[in-house]
């Protein structure tokens, strides 16, 4: 599952770990986790948190508090020191296990940080294209008999996130080199090296820029093809029921199906 959150450093895109126990503990820990993330007022995050949904986190805290108080109480009222020690050891063991699970879960999460607003808005646009394709998919799958496109779309969005992060890195690198050259505070040998570096950075930036544009265009093409297919699908069904001999609607539908297949294949790694 792809998740996003805002922090001081920008937009963070994450893929949850595959292991079920780690994932569930991560979800529990996040409900009551130490986080300095602030909800943004922009289009990218608005649903994260609010008084209406606040009781969930309070309940999670209460459950933890209740269990901990019971364990502490059991250790305190135990008449024999052996029993108290046993309870304390079990409680400590569970706690250590939870901490290790949380650490593993955090390490297992793959993360991409997008620091520039432009990257975040591009990702948002790509997400909207993917959602359009997903909305139209029930009609597409009725004819093409394809399974759920979510894994492919999520992979495409994740790849785009990585590409955007790489693009940001290239842009920052180029800016740093240009700044150094403008300062003009280096010797001629180092200057030549910096000029070469600038050229390399420009080439890499253009390459990554093209990659991002291609990936975005692929998602847009799939969304458009799916929308068109849905339109033609509806129109085709109506025309075939109205005049059974007319095959132009079916041909157009087949063309649109081909377009969807092509756009879908373009997104495949």
């Amino acid at each position: 599952m792809l998740e996003c959150r805002r922090s001081d450093s920008g937009l963070i895109l994450e893929v949850s770990p595959g292991r079920a126990t780690a994932r569930w503990w991560l979800i529990l820990a996040r409900v009551a986790a130490a986080s300095r993330a602030a909800p943004a007022g922009s289009a990218l995050t608005t649903a994260s948190g609010g008084p209406a949904t606040g009781a969930m986190a309070a309940i999670a805290y209460l459950v933890v508090l209740g269990v901990a108080a019971l364990a502490g109480g059991a250790a305190r009222v135990a008449t024999r020191p052996t029993v108290a020690g046993l309870v304390a050891v079990v409680a400590l063991g569970i706690l250590v296990y939870c901490v290790s699970l949380r650490c593993r879960a955090y390490f297992a999460v793959h993360r991409v940080v997008l620091r520039h607003e432009v990257s975040a808005s591009l990702l948002d646009a790509a997400d909207r294209f993917a959602e359009r394709a997903l909305r139209a998919w029930p009609d597409v799958s009725s004819l093409l008999a394809w399974s759920d496109p979510r894994p492919l779309l999520e992979q495409a969005l994740w790849d785009l996130g990585q590409l955007l992060a790489a693009l940001e890195h290239s842009r920052d690198r180029l800016a740093a080199v240009e700044r150094m050259l403008q300062l003009n505070a280096v010797g001629s040998k180092l200057r030549n090296e910096l000029v070469r570096e600038q050229r390399d950075a420009e080439v890499l930036l253009r390459h990554r820029d093209r990659q991002v544009a291609r990936r975005l265009a692929g998602l847009r093409r799939l969304a458009d093809a799916c929308d068109e297919f849905r339109r033609w699908h509806g129109a085709g069904i109506r025309s075939t029921t109205a005049s059974p001999g007319d095959t132009s609607g079916v041909e157009a539908l087949a063309t649109q199906a081909e377009a969807v297949v092509e756009a879908y294949r373009d997104l495949m790694p």
């Binding site: 996003c4 409900v31 994260s48 209460l62 502490g72 250790a75």
Partner: protein
């Protein structure tokens, strides 16, 4: 990503629910509940009223989850549970719940805003240690202690 354009919107990139206001809001609620419950436990214990711990626990749960409505329900529960004492004392017991909740609400939210979300493992460890060392009071004070330490730590940075 998280712009709601309709209830049927299929999301691919979902906002993380545990972040930001949600977790901090939960921590503030917990602190409010613990402060009110601790106050109730202390007052009932001083007045030698029965079921002090159970009623304090109910106060913690209701105030933390339902806020002011929970306060009213907790006060009503206290009045109903203390059926074997005289009416003025029952009214005072119910009033103590309301006073505890209203009195601790402001400071608890103030502290909650400053400390942000609390690490769940730390709350757990502090509660176990608190209950073992000082009894029921430790259960009420542990989250508050963690919150105070965290607020100090955040102010320090």
């Amino acid at each position: 990503m998280a712009v709601d354009r309709g209830t049927t919107r299929a999301r691919l990139i979902v906002p993380r629910l545990g972040d930001g206001l949600l977790a901090a809001h939960g921590a503030a609620r917990l602190l409010w509940g613990c402060a009110a419950g601790g106050f109730v436990w202390w007052v009932y214990g001083a007045a030698d009223l029965p079921h002090a711990l159970a009623l304090a626990g109910v106060t913690v749960a209701l105030v933390a989850t339902a806020g002011l409505a929970g306060t009213a329900i907790a006060a009503l529960s206290a009045a109903l549970a203390l059926h074997d004492i005289d009416t003025p004392m029952r009214a005072a017991a119910a009033g103590a719940v309301v006073v505890a909740s209203l009195g601790t609400g402001g400071p608890a939210w103030w502290l909650g805003r400053r400390c942000g979300a609390l690490p769940v493992e730390l709350v757990c460890a502090a509660t176990v240690a608190g209950v073992v060392l000082i009894g029921p009071a430790g259960g009420f004070l542990a989250p508050l202690g963690v919150a105070v330490l965290r607020a100090i730590g955040r102010a320090w940075r």
